[in-house]
Structures are given as C-alpha cells and as structure tokens.
C-alpha cells in the first residue's frame, strides 16, 4: 500500500477508495486502479480453516475476514463473511431440502424450482403468501409439524445473524474497506422477472422450456414483475438526487445471468425491454450501476453501445476484457484477473499480466481490477499470487 494511504484513518481511507472507483467509472484517471475483490469462500482456506468450520461459526468467519484484510490491501470485498450462513436453516432442520449445501471444501446450490409456469402469476400477486402457503410446505416435508421450539430457535439464530451483519460492517470499516453499492431504492436486490424465474422459480431447465412452449405466460409474468417491482424503482431513481452517491462505489448492483440461455428475440422481449428503462434512468441521473455479467454479455454488446460514458460498469466473467473494450468503449470494465492465472501462474507472471491490463485498459480510467470468478475453491488462487497482485495494484500510480 502507498504511504499516503497507510497514513489515512479508516473513514478517510474508505472515502479515498470510493473516489478511486468513481474516478475510474467516470473515465477520469484515478491515482491508481482500484481493486474490487471478487473473493468469497477462498478466504476461509487462506485463513487455515475449512468451509464447514467457518460457515456455522461467526467467530471463525470474523477471524477469516480479519486475516484476509490484514494480508491483502483490497479496496472492496464482495463478501464480508455474511453470505450463506447456515445456522438459521440448520436450526430449522432444513436438512437436504436447503437451497445451499456445504462440506469441508465446497458451498454449492441444490437444484431447485419453486413454481410451475402456470403458477407464476399467483407468485407475483403476493410473493410472501406464495412462499408461506405453497413454496415452503412443498420444500420442507415436515413444515407443518415443526414444534414451536424449533421456530423460536430459528428466530434466535436469525437474530444472531442480523447482529453478525452489523458486526462485520464495523470490522471491515476499521480497515477502511469501501462499500460496493446500496440496496435498491425499494430495499433488496434489483432483479428482473426472467432472472427470478431462472434462479428460483422455474430453474434453468424449465425456463428454457417455458421460453419456447409457454412464451405468453412467461411474458405476462415478466410484464407483471415490471409493473410491481421495476417501475417503482425507476420512479424512485428519477425522484432522487442527481449524481453519484459518494457513500458507495456504485449506485446499484445488478446481476445478469439468464441472457446466457435466451435467444436474441427472447432477450429483447423478456429482458431488455425492462432493463433498458432502468439503466436509462440511472444514466439520466448521472449515476453508474455495476452489472455483474455472469457467463457472457458480448452477444448483446450492441444493446449497450449508446449509453454515455460513466453510466455503466460491467463486471465481466467469461468475456475477454479487450474484446469488450473494443465493442463497448463507453463502458467501464471491472475484471481482468482470471482464476486460471491466479491459480496456476507465478507471482511474477500475475504481476506482469496485471500491469498489462492496467496499462492497456485503465491508464485513462474506465478500468477496475477484479477477479473474473468469485474465488470460492481452494485451487482458484495461490495466496502468493493474490498477495503479489494486491501489492502491485495498490502501489502502481497512474500518470495524470
């Protein structure tokens, strides 16, 4: 870390780091390129624990985060130890019926789908009612038989989890870690009907089928989702203040995944017609959302070509950052580091590659360093490689 940053107090460092992100997004040359840590459960192995030891023990998880932040001078961390805590579902006796599962080495997602296509409208009518009366009893065979004591224990674990979130915000604040993005103006994550259908309601397989066989029903659901969920968010954005919210590095965080299984016509009619007005609202207000473009986005690059510089930042996963820069010279790129390099190359090779990324993509802004995949598995990264990259990027000053 540079001396100037070492001498800052945590709040000052947090504000400074936030400014680095905002400069990069706005295509102003930042003092140095910021590093957005797309690092999840890999941190646990690096701290000497296994997944099962950290996932149900808040003290271990807290130690994991502190060890990580002591070792690596990263500017933002996608996960501060508060994802996938299993104490709540275990108190409820979820067993094998949970969304997630874990063992010593892996946190994974069980295949799941809560809703057949002909009940999508019932779901959107009242999501909580559907969850309570339909999804949970179907998901958990003994849902109606849980003793009150189990419910009370579940509540207690839930409350401890909420308190842990507050605690971890304090812990990371002491390291001057910047905050990624606020919740959406209506609270919660910004999501779209087709993404909800893919990730929770129908699942990948049934969404693929429904997009061909039940297009009208799917479209009706996506329209209803737009009315109920997306349009109120747009209204809030337009009513709000102009310009970036300097408490955060980005003004919103979105995840795109289902574009990978939709054809262009389906993408336009089930996704883009709802996404574009939201992005235009952010653009109009001088704000910049981060979009995690899981899988690939290059096939739809033309859709984003007309946005003003400074109004979009793509966090790339499988796309080539140089190809995206050529296709979308208006979009700030987040990414560049691959698990293939971090897990297999030498520290010198990692640093040389990082320098090339910064020199070619970020010397005049428009680039934020990050990992392409969420670092999750033990072999996703070698500690000495991440250490070398962090030391380099946190010291490599850009010419203004």
């Amino acid at each position: 870390m540079r001396e100037i940053e070492k001498n800052m107090k945590p709040k000052e460092l947090k504000a400074y780091r936030t400014q680095l992100f905002r400069d990069a997004e706005q295509w102003k040359t930042p003092d140095r390129v910021p590093h957005y840590g797309n690092i999840v459960t890999w941190k646990i192995f690096d701290a000497g624990y296994t997944i099962d030891q950290a996932m149900t023990n808040f003290d271990v998880m807290k130690e994991t985060i502190e060890v990580f932040l002591e070792k690596y001078p990263i500017d933002v961390l996608i996960d501060i130890g508060i994802r996938n805590q299993f104490n709540i579902t275990e108190a409820f006796g979820m067993g094998d019926n949970g969304y997630y599962y874990y063992d010593k080495e892996v946190v994974g997602i069980n295949d799941h789908a809560y809703c057949p296509v002909d009940r999508l409208m019932e779901y959107i009518e009242d999501k909580n009612k559907y969850a309570w009366e339909v999804a949970l009893p179907e998901k958990i065979p003994d849902f109606y038989d849980k003793p009150m004591e189990v419910w009370k224990n579940t509540w207690n674990e839930y409350w401890k989890y909420i308190m842990f979130i507050f605690k971890m915000n304090k812990v990371t604040g002491a390291y001057g870690l910047a905050s990624g993005a606020p919740n959406n103006p209506m609270k919660g994550t910004i999501n779209f009907g087709v993404e909800e259908a893919e990730s929770n309601l129908l699942g990948i397989k049934n969404l693929s089928i429904a997009a061909r066989r039940n297009f009208a029903q799917l479209k009706e659901f996506c329209d209803a989702w737009d009315e109920k969920e997306t349009k109120p968010i747009i209204a809030k954005i337009l009513e709000g203040e102009d310009g970036p919210d300097m408490k955060y590095c980005f003004d919103a965080s979105l995840i795109m995944l289902s574009q990978n299984i939709l054809n262009p016509k389906q993408f336009d009619e089930l996704y883009w017609c709802y996404l574009e007005p939201l992005l235009k609202a952010y653009e109009q207000k001088g704000k910049c959302p981060r979009i995690f473009t899981e899988g690939k986005i290059d096939m739809y690059a033309d859709h984003f070509a007309d946005f003003k510089k400074g109004s979009l930042a793509f966090h790339l996963e499988n796309d080539d950052p140089w190809a995206i820069r050529e296709a979308l010279p208006n979009v700030c790129i987040i990414g560049g580091l691959t698990t293939a390099i971090l897990g297999n190359a030498t520290p010198d090779e990692c640093v040389a590659y990082t320098k090339k990324l910064i020199d070619e993509l970020g010397s005049e802004g428009g680039f934020i360093l990050s990992e392409d995949k969420m670092l999750s598995y033990r072999n996703d990264c070698k500690a000495e490689n991440l250490k070398a990259v962090c030391e380099f990027v946190s010291n490599y000053e850009l010419k203004k």
């Binding site: 709540i88 409820f92 057949p116 909580n128 999804a135 419910w151």
Partner: protein, 59 residues
C-alpha cells in the same frame, strides 16, 4: 424435422389443507411471528418477518 425433446414437467402437488393454525398468510403467519418474536422486536415485524421467509425459501 427436429426431434421433439421429451422433458418431464415439474410435478407440483397441491398443498395439503391442514389444521395447522398458522398455515394462512398473512393471518396465520402473523400469529406465528407473535409467538416467536420477542416483544421489543415486533415493531419491525413486517420487514423482519418478510426477510425470515426469504431466508427459509432461499436458504
């Protein structure tokens, strides 16, 4: 002609109508929250209860 892909339709059984006193939403659900939430937390019942449902569905 492209071969028709046979795909199993998801089987969704009708939810059993039971005598569980908390089975309905929002009435039964609110009753259950009143049983499990401490008194001081109840002002935040709407938000925290909704989040708890989400944790159970997505967790």
């Amino acid at each position: 002609m492209a071969e028709e892909i046979k795909v199993e339709e998801p089987v969704v059984e009708e939810v059993k109508k039971v005598d569980w006193p908390y089975a309905s939403y929002p009435e039964g659900y609110n009753k259950l929250l009143n049983k499990i939430m401490p008194f001081w937390a109840r002002p935040a019942k709407k938000m925290m209860g909704a989040l708890l449902i989400r944790v159970l569905v997505d967790g």
